[in-house]
Symmetry: C2
Subunit: 335 residues, 2 copies
DNA sequence: AAGCCGGGTGAACAAACGTGCAAGGATGGC
DNA sequence: GCCATCCTTGCACGTTTGTTCACCCGGCTT
């Protein structure tokens, strides 16, 4: 069963609109007039609990937007430095150094999901990679109404029930729902076993149509993989790659991947054998997107991140504080 | 002692910036990452109470901005109707009908203060009237950093210690502080006793300089007075006007005033004797400001509001719901 | 018609939050 | 150098808020 509709049509529009109206009014009273939920419940002739739920709904559905402006004379030191050094807009997410890697990922993903709205607009094609970072983000997206947008899957995927990572179809659907966008699935494995199969598949009309959509992306959204870090990206756990593949990658000098396409520390990809079997877009295609948002969490991904920056894949970076700090320190440092 | 500085200079900039930095970080953690204040206190090595205060500070000082977007397919019915009928951008503030007039004013003023930031920008001259509405607003302004702005008093004032209304100097200072703007006081009474005195005063060089500043306003901010309503505006309580003045106003057909200048239901002002002694700007001058924001609360002011609209004084209206509803109903209805 | 189901409601409880208060520390005047 | 003063801090309390649970109500199935 393919789930692929945009924002669902008016079903009981009466009720829906009524709820929306209430939520809106509650939000006004709560956030603009500082009334207590009790008082609001009274004005709305309902219970306090319902008001609490109404407000949660208002926040989760983007009726209420909370933004944080750092005063212009105090622009985050690190963000500014990243902009200078890498020509990339940075959002640094504060996370304590002692946080666990899962905490860190969750917190970065949550913040990223809330920031994301700024990059999305109507009439856009949004490319979304498949991986643990995107999966975590998908759980917290704040809806934003757009017209005529389209979400397109950038790389193939297996299912990752094992680790809380979500079916690609589910992930894409969440993005599509949040922005009222059509969804273009890409039903292929993360890696083909045989390069020839991939080439054949790429000649298919349906595949070519999808690749054209990818090529017309306005926004690309992805994380980075780091195959040789202590905590390898999920793509490497799920058995997508064999030991031999790792050895080949190591021989080829790969330090990371974006949407299953690997690169070296200097950003080059030529001659990395595995890429012949990968399903993600060629970097030349990716770079055509004017906005390329990368979400990274954890110092383990530092080397991958450096490579992706060297490859010029990133225009906007959302990254946890520790990794950001490490990034701007001397490039030679290990972990 | 005249209080007239812009945002105070760096005093203990070290500490201030440190506090700001903490507030910013706390806001990120609280509003973007949904941490509890307890957790934030731990990360910041301080107590939970301090975090609570830090967050209050962050909100009050505009570091955190909370805005409410009604979905575009559900634009407030009334606001749209006001736009159609009067060609005026409206913000309708929900307030229950049974609220007292003071409650109503407070709530409208609070909301208005939080909306105000949208109208203010750098390099602007902001004209501010003196009255109970502006006084209530001044208590809740959300700071917004601007450069080279100027706040100028539109009309003279007595002091209103009696009813919680605040000295004009204090009121102006609050606006100036909130936007980091220079402040131009206008130290005259609300009404002169003798028209001749006014004319003489108007010939003074210092007065003419101030009038020129007023004439160059980018934004004007004012309420409306309604001299014949049950609950008369403070200007009429403080003994600024005599019984004879009211009778004259009544004879002249005045229904309201903006910054001490009176008008009739059709918006005309010619031949209203009292205006010869008023200190507010001529409407021709006022209308030169491209943005003219009017804050109104209470149906008692409905007739005044209609007059001000007829006079074309308003480009943006902030008004409570009950009054807004009354406004768009048949114009003939009384209260 | 009876019965299941999903979504919504209010009561009750536990968690999270704001604020008055007293103590501690810094600041500026003399 | 000392004191008066102001600002900040953490605690304790009372209030406000999120969430669980049992329940109800309308729609749809068998």
């Amino acid at each position: 069963m393919i789930e692929q509709q945009a924002a669902r049509p008016a079903e009981g529009a009466e009720t829906v609109s009524g709820k929306m109206r209430d939520a809106l009014r509650a939000a006004h009273l709560y956030y603009m007039q500082d009334l207590t939920m009790d008082a609001i419940a009274h004005e709305l002739h309902t219970s306090r609990s319902s008001v609490s739920r109404l407000l949660s709904h208002a926040r989760a559905s983007g009726l209420v937007e909370i933004s944080i402006h750092s005063p212009l004379d105090l622009p985050s030191r690190i963000e500014h430095e990243i902009l200078e050094r890498f020509e990339v807009g940075a959002h640094v997410i504060p996370v304590p150094d002692h946080a666990s890697d899962v905490d860190r990922l969750d917190r970065v993903a949550l913040s990223a999901a809330r920031i994301l709205g700024r990059f999305i607009d109507s009439n856009q094609t949004i490319g979304v990679a498949w991986g643990s970072t995107m999966s975590a983000m998908s759980r917290h997206l704040v809806p934003k109404a757009t017209h005529n947008s389209e979400v397109v899957q950038l790389n193939g995927a297996g299912n990752g029930r094992t680790t809380g990572i979500v079916y690609a179809s589910e992930l894409l659907r969440r993005f599509g729902d949040a922005f009222g966008a059509r969804v273009q699935q890409f039903p292929v494995p993360a890696f083909f076993d045989d390069p020839e199969t991939r080439r054949a598949f790429w000649r298919e009309r349906s595949t070519r149509r999808l690749l054209e959509v990818q090529a017309g992306m306005d926004v690309a959204l992805f994380g980075v993989g780091s195959p040789f870090a202590e905590v390898p990206s999920h793509v490497y756990q799920g058995g997508y790659l064999e030991r031999a593949d790792y050895e080949a990658l190591s021989r080829d000098g790969a330090v990371g991947d974006v949407a299953t396409v690997f690169y070296r520390a200097d950003g080059s990809t030529d001659g990395i054998a595995l890429n012949e079997r990968a399903t993600g877009p060629d970097f030349a295609v990716l770079r055509r997107a004017p906005r390329r948002v990368c979400v990274v969490s954890g110092r383990a991904k530092l080397a991958s991140l450096r490579g992706a920056l060297a490859a010029g894949l990133i225009t906007d970076l959302i990254v946890d504080e520790g990794t950001a700090r490490a990034l701007v320190e001397s490039p030679g440092d290990g972990e």
